[in-house]
Symmetry: C2
Subunit: 429 residues, 2 copies
């Protein structure tokens, strides 16, 4: 008898497709970790009738928990608290302590933006209205949440801005009604393995083979192919299935060790960052068709200045020559998109930035510029270190311009990982 939940996301911008919903997936992941099975995520607009019908539907469907997001702002069209109150059959009452708390939070804001004091007072009062029997949850921004037992279920009511919602989540879990519900949920354990450049069909075959020896029926296996080349395999299981899950992980490791770049859920970005730090290496990049994306990805992490020195985006041949020292004859002989030029770009990056590792990347991202020998998607990648060790590839990457750019960056990161690993376990390309 597990705990089942439904999530109701409110907001016309989400419903009309203008803004993509970040709260439903986030709450769903958190509930999954707690061992709560989510049956529905429903988006509704700002019409109270649609929210009410979603709540009634979920109750009729027998869920034990409803989490709502959004609709807790100070204006009249933010109606979630009132609709939940009506759903519970409870009067709304003013929580004066909460009113004072919100007033303190908005005071500074109201002063800075010279907001109308009467409007601010009204909005504050509205946000401090709680259904009788509901437990208020302290706000992260200005909107408090509510946790409330309603007949056979518990409702958690949270605001829409993702940072506010996420900040308030631990407080929501600590309220009495939710704590009580959580005693009935058995948290899942999980394992995560990430592979590079393994076909899904090959993985499926391996899973079938493992299934011959290990009972996997109670293990939830999700595979997800990201960016065309990274295969994420996530296992979710109860504690009683720990041995089977371990056998499955071992089986995957035996079959595909060379493809695995992470077995604790780390991204390739994290693996490369840690590899560079661990090797006390420094890196610079020279890129053409990715136009700065590789440098941007490497500098995305805080503290990346410890290993990243810089990059050159050399779109024109002149820039390849003057900024990276790629010989004009090399370009004339092999073309700007060639393994030779990619390696010369890596050399140039090392030399110009004085790093221990350089990456060169040149390719045809399209939609124009493809030729017979070098079609759209043809990308030359080279990772090189100052000792002269080289890992290079020139794949034809499928997809549209953006796919080609993104996948080229991912491929470059995996190349750097391989250069750093140099231990025979590196992923084949």
């Amino acid at each position: 008898m597990g705990v089942r939940a439904g999530i109701v996301v409110t907001g016309t911008e989400v419903l009309t497709g203008r803004v993509s919903d970040r709260n439903g997936p986030w709450v769903s992941e958190r509930l999954g970790e707690l061992g709560i099975e989510v049956s529905h995520i429903t988006c509704v607009g700002d019409r109270p009738g649609d929210l009410a019908s979603a709540l009634r539907f979920l109750e009729g469907d027998g869920v034990d928990l409803i989490v709502t997001t959004g609709g807790l702002g100070p204006t009249a069209d933010d109606l979630t608290a009132a609709v939940v109150g009506e759903f519970a059959g409870a009067e709304m009452e003013l929580d004066t302590a909460m009113e004072a708390k919100i007033a303190r939070i908005v005071a500074e804001f109201a002063r800075r933006f010279r907001l109308d004091p009467e409007g601010v007072r009204e909005g504050t009062r509205k946000q401090a209205m709680v259904p009788v029997g509901g437990v208020p949850i302290d706000p992260q921004g200005t909107a408090p949440g509510i946790a409330m037992a309603i007949r056979d279920l518990v409702a958690i009511v949270l605001p829409g801005p993702p940072r506010e919602l996420q900040g308030m989540w631990p407080r929501a879990l600590a309220t009495t009604p939710v704590e009580h519900l959580l005693t009935r949920a058995e948290p899942y354990l999980s394992e995560s393995i990430r592979m590079f450049n393994l076909a899904e069909s090959t993985l499926a075959k391996t899973l079938r083979e493992i299934e011959q020896r290990v009972d996997l029926t109670a293990i939830e296996v999700t595979t997800c192919l990201r960016g065309g080349s990274e295969l994420e395999i996530d296992l979710r299981f109860r504690a009683s299935e720990t041995a089977q899950a371990a056998a499955l992980v071992d089986g995957l490791r035996d079959a595909h060790a060379k493809h695995i770049y992470s077995d604790a859920g780390e991204s390739i970005d994290q693996v490369v960052a840690e590899g560079l730090l661990g090797a006390a290496a420094t890196i610079a990049v020279a890129e053409s068709c990715t136009g700065g994306l590789l440098a941007a990805r490497l500098t995305n992490r805080p503290g990346s200045s410890r290993y990243f020195h810089g990059g050159v985006v050399a779109y024109s041949n002149a820039a390849k020559q003057s900024l990276l020292g790629v010989p004009a004859e090399l370009i004339a002989a092999h073309g700007a998109v060639s393994p030779q030029v990619a390696e010369a770009m890596a050399d140039g990056a090392i030399k110009r930035f004085g790093t221990t590792i350089g990456v060169g990347l040149t390719g045809v991202a399209g939609p124009d510029g493809g030729s017979e020998g070098k079609p759209i998607g043809y990308v030359c990648l080279c990772a090189k270190d100052s000792a002269g060790r080289v890992v290079a590839r020139d794949p034809e990457i499928p997809g549209a311009r953006n796919d080609i750019r993104d996948r080229s960056v991912a491929a470059a990161l995996h190349l750097v990982r391989r250069l750093l690993a140099d231990d025979g376990t590196a992923a084949p390309f």
Copy 2:
């Protein structure tokens, strides 16, 4: 009496939050354009019971149209067609023409990946099963869709991969049951205005003022703040409200002309690209804290090589000096993050890449590195042309590392727009 719709997105990856749903918002936008009001978007997993209950809920809620996405694959856990058939009370029957069509599509694929022929035949047969009374929709990939009148509503059943779904959408609209339904919907007209650096509260005030003279009650106005600085105002209205909508647009233009960078929905990227092409200008960038994001954004568009020559990501001071020619004394005197260094970086970009425009961008993205005079979020931006004209700003940008990086890039693009416009209408910064 408009047409109301519900959307049901199936897929455990979406429900568990692993993958974000791209289909619900896309379908919702398309329906909105057709004048169909979406009341709910519901995500369910691969459990047939949850899909069936979502269908029953929407029917009970009185929708005229249900669009489902996903669950049409060849494997046994893809159950949408069968569940919709059961919901309709219709037997499933094999569409032999469709079976032959799918077999032709998968033949090449099966050969390349040496798939088991028996399994392929089974999967193909499964995908060609259509509820009696349903109209099959030709596949974009291998999965056909279904359009079907069911009691008082119409169901459109489409596959999950966004490209397949989007490719099949026009064919779904052209089926008899959907065409018939669409005669009852009155399409909306729309207007879109985009502004830079205008406070939402100021816009709200202007809207209130316009409301004194123009009846806006029948115009749906959605405002959306993107990246902290770009305010998108979208109007949706029936043909009968055209005059009021035009008056609203005029009112916004009168009040905020200097903030408007687009009045036909173009992105700032598009405005800058067209501005550069129109002026026959070329551009190079020199960036520090954005680490390549500005170059990546400028090269995101096909054909950007016509104006973009290249960029330098100069993270270290040494790189700023050697690759961009920023004088060491300038860095020593003012610091690496200073308006002076930003301008010297713009100069360096122009000189090294031989362009007519250069952009310099240096800042503190955090989470470390902030100081009293130069806190985290302090960013110096400079757009300069080879004639010596300069547009420069050094705002303090709020948010976390990623926000600061993204907003710096947006600010740089708006700076370039301003340099290009030079007509007095440019947005204040």
